[in-house]
């Protein structure tokens, strides 16, 4: 049994806005994206737009129990449920499955700084650490850090309580979440899934992780395609993207309108030897049966040489239009592939016939998603 998979709901929040329309307008305008270059200087981040969280997370107590990455995700998940016409259907949400791509949560930066300052002169550093953590850590911060607690909060706030899985592994996690949901629906292992990821770039601990590896772009803004000459790098973006994916027959039965069809997803872990990435992308393109006229939503990060290689390959496929989501919302890591898929859905709703989302990780992982018009 291979069933057709459609997208019936989308939710997207980023530095641009909180609906597909604002993102498409920004894509069309070609204006430089919104950046915060001061808070974490010399690092730039694309800050999330201000959101009225009450609209998707009615209880203040729930908002307080989450850190920003979870609030962004729960908000976007709510938007996706709304567009899918599922928000008010408790029965449907009770059997809706969840696959979330997540990293980890946030820290208490002040406490970390105080400990690092004090521990240098502590008589017994280990005991000092114990004492300070025992007295200074907020007990509930743990729950805002655990990777699977974005999914947990979606269950609590939105009542989505079918199977709940959290994938980790940076960019690949977002792509694999969509791949596995697609495979399960196609094979009849579930009718409807809420799938996506969230990322908060406005935190020094994640900047630190990527700066350790030298992956951050610290120069004035340039397109992801134009950074290679100066070493390459990415600008992290805060945001979240969620999709409601379901079997076409299931959508029809409940009277939901398909927004796009999800034709296929491939995800690999191609070793980054010279020339390997373009060859892999060409293979993905062929596997998915993509046509030269497809609109491409590239997740290129700006990291060198991966983004140059992707660009060089893209010029060979004759894509109708190439949009770099990194130039629109920044690099949203686990949310990279879901973001591309939401934007592809929006373009298909507005007349495009076919779209291909590429996802190449800053360090590992590569793949693509092919979507077509719903009808």
């Amino acid at each position: 049994m291979m069933r057709e998979v459609v997208i019936t709901g989308v939710g997207l929040v980023s530095c641009v806005g909180e609906d597909a329309e604002s993102h498409l307008a920004a894509l069309a305008s070609g204006a430089p994206p919104r950046l915060d270059t001061t808070t974490f200087a010399p690092y730039a981040v694309h800050p999330a737009v201000h959101l009225d969280y009450d609209r998707q997370i009615p209880k203040k107590s729930d908002q307080r129990q989450m850190e920003p990455w979870q609030r962004l995700g729960v908000y976007a998940a709510g938007l996706a449920l709304e567009t899918a016409g599922a928000k008010a259907d408790a029965g449907l949400k009770g059997r809706m499955h969840l696959i979330v791509a997540a990293g980890g949560g946030e820290r208490d930066y002040a406490v970390d700084g105080q400990i690092l300052t004090g521990i240098r002169n502590a008589a017994d550093p280990g005991v000092f650490l114990n004492e300070r953590l025992m007295s200074d850590l907020r007990p509930t911060l743990f729950l805002a850090q655990l990777s699977n607690l974005l999914a947990g909060n979606i269950s609590i706030v939105h009542g989505v309580t079918g199977a709940s899985r959290t994938f980790m592994g940076e960019e690949s996690a977002g792509l694999d979440a969509i791949r596995v949901a697609h495979a399960r629906i196609a094979a009849g292992q579930g009718d409807i899934f809420l799938v996506g990821g969230a990322y908060n770039a406005e935190r020094p601990d994640v900047l630190l992780m990527f700066e350790l590896g030298g992956f951050l772009w610290k120069k004035p803004f340039r397109s992801v395609w134009d950074r290679a000459a100066e070493g390459g790098g990415f600008i992290p973006g805060s945001g979240a993207a969620f999709l409601v994916m379901e079997a076409r027959e299931h959508a029809a039965r409940r009277g939901a309108t398909p927004l796009a069809a999800l034709a296929g997803v491939v995800s690999e872990r191609t070793r980054r030897t010279p020339g390997a990435l373009p060859a892999a992308l060409a293979r993905h393109w062929a596997t998915l049966g993509a046509s030269p006229g497809a609109v491409v939503l590239s997740g290129a990060t700006g990291v060198s040489p991966a983004s140059e290689e992707e660009r060089a390959w893209l010029t060979t496929v004759g894509a109708a239009t190439i949009h770099a989501t990194g130039d629109l919302v920044g690099h949203t890591v686990e949310a990279q592939a879901p973001t591309g898929a939401v934007l592809a859905t929006a373009l298909l709703q507005r007349g495009a016939a076919e779209a291909v989302v590429t996802s190449v990780g800053h360090w590992r992982g590569d793949g693509a998603i092919r979507l077509t018009r719903a009808e």
């Binding site: 700084g113 025992m134 850590l137 007990p139 911060l141 743990f142 999914a151």
Partner: protein
């Protein structure tokens, strides 16, 4: 012999098992200790425990990891368990495992030694902030830590080492993660995507901050002395779980393919059940409905009835809440008969290996079936009238076990149950 289950799906056979816990490395040592009722829980000597309420854990201290940190120890433990499982299964050639990798890994981040080294390298003496750490990171001197602390790196390295196919899945469903890794493998085989899967749960994350975080949630036992008596699942005086470390690996295969290549089949994963709980971040719905749905779902998925369950390998953490809810859930599904169905908790001896627990307990469930011996729940001296179950108190018991229900529950409303059998019914 049937190759498919009653729903027409490929049967999923287990052909390789590997495990490492505080009880030892390998199936042999673990099983001997577990059936002897021996505990692996001891006083922590990995880091100072002054000022802590809990000073014990089931750490794995006999496996070296350098630099010592949670992702490195988790990787080493996973490697050891996978070597044993893949070696036993004999599927594919060395370094060319013919299937996918699903691995439950602990969420990791930079740890205190790394933060301290960065602070030191920054030259900032007072008022250290993340700005200083970033400055030190920008020197490029600490580059390997980027890869080491990414969430996908343990999986990446296991995939490289064993030559698994496709994009490896790293996952977390909190304390049910190990069971979820198996469930994902079962689903992939059932839909014909792969004929084999390497399913692993690993956790080597007992460090001071991890312990303190659980401690601040009042989740841990504080009965530190003697350490081996602290984990008291189902007993009235239970007061929390004890953190443990370990890893387990299972090679599962499409039964038809496994039989065709003449593999020895150790048992079958017959059914998986899962249900999210939207009640609370750390507590179960008071009516236990999601737990009940997960147990019932696993039994139905296996094409069985509650009467077919011979033994329950409990989640059995030893927290007041878990054991009460788990007992209630089992009673609700299995009914009065549950009072005489043996149920025991491996965690009474191993501690709670968190991300790894579901996989560790799946391995122990298969060993229970194969040996015809049920490991006990140790430290059971004060029965809880609210839990009227046969918890196989304190001593292992011989029994003919054909079908096991293995439960895993986690923070964030995660409930995953597996039904494991000697043979399909």
């Amino acid at each position: 012999m049937a190759h498919r289950d009653r729903q027409g799906r490929p049967l999923v056979a287990v052909t390789g098992l590997g495990v490492v816990t505080s009880l030892g490395q390998g199936r042999e040592d673990n099983w001997t200790a577990l059936t002897a009722g021996r505990s692996g829980i001891h006083a922590i000597n990995r880091f100072p425990t002054e000022a802590l309420r809990t000073t014990i854990a089931g750490t794995v201290d006999f496996v070296a990891a350098e630099p010592f940190c949670a992702p490195m120890l988790s990787e080493r433990l996973a490697m050891l368990a996978a070597e044993e499982a893949v070696g036993e299964a004999g599927a594919g050639r060395t370094g060319d495992f013919p299937g996918a990798l699903f691995i439950a890994v602990p969420p990791v981040e930079l740890e205190w030694p790394q933060r301290q080294a960065l602070a030191e390298a920054s030259g900032q003496n007072d008022g250290v902030t993340y700005r200083d750490l970033l400055g030190a990171a920008a020197t490029g001197r600490f580059k390997p830590w980027h890869d080491l602390f990414l969430f996908g790196t343990v999986a990446d390295r296991i995939a490289d080492r064993f030559g698994t196919k496709g994009s490896p899945i790293s996952l977390s469903t909190a304390c049910s993660s190990g069971a979820t890794a198996i469930q994902l493998g079962v689903e992939a085989i059932r839909r014909g995507e792969t004929d084999a899967a390497l399913c692993i749960g690993t956790d080597g994350s007992v460090h001071a901050e991890a312990l303190i975080r659980f401690s601040l949630l009042s989740a841990l036992s504080t009965h530190n002395d003697p350490p081996e008596a602290a984990a008291k699942p189902f007993a009235k005086n239970r007061d929390g779980f004890v953190m443990g470390e370990g890893a387990a690996a299972l090679v599962i295969e499409n039964a038809e393919a496994a039989r065709a290549r003449g593999a020895a089949i150790l048992g079958y994963v017959l059914g998986c059940g899962e249900r999210g709980d939207g009640f609370h971040r750390t507590r179960s719905s008071p009516d236990g409905a999601p737990i009940v749905a997960a147990i019932r779902g696993a039994i139905e998925d296996a094409g069985l009835t509650p009467d077919d369950i011979d033994y329950v390998n409990a989640h059995g953490t030893g927290t007041p809440e878990n054991d009460k809810m788990e007992s209630m859930g089992c009673m609700a599904v299995i009914g009065e008969r549950m009072k005489s169905v043996p149920i025991s908790s491996n965690k009474s001896m191993i501690g709670h290996t968190l991300t790894a627990a579901g996989a560790v307990e799946a391995v122990m469930s298969l060993l229970t079936i194969r040996s015809g011996r049920i490991p006990p729940t140790i430290n059971y001296h004060v029965p809880d009238p609210a839990i009227p179950l046969d918890v196989v108190p304190n001593e292992a018991r011989d029994a003919d076990v054909g079908i096991v229900l293995s439960n895993s529950f986690g923070f964030g409303g995660q409930n995953t149950c597996l039904v494991i059998g000697a043979e399909p019914k």
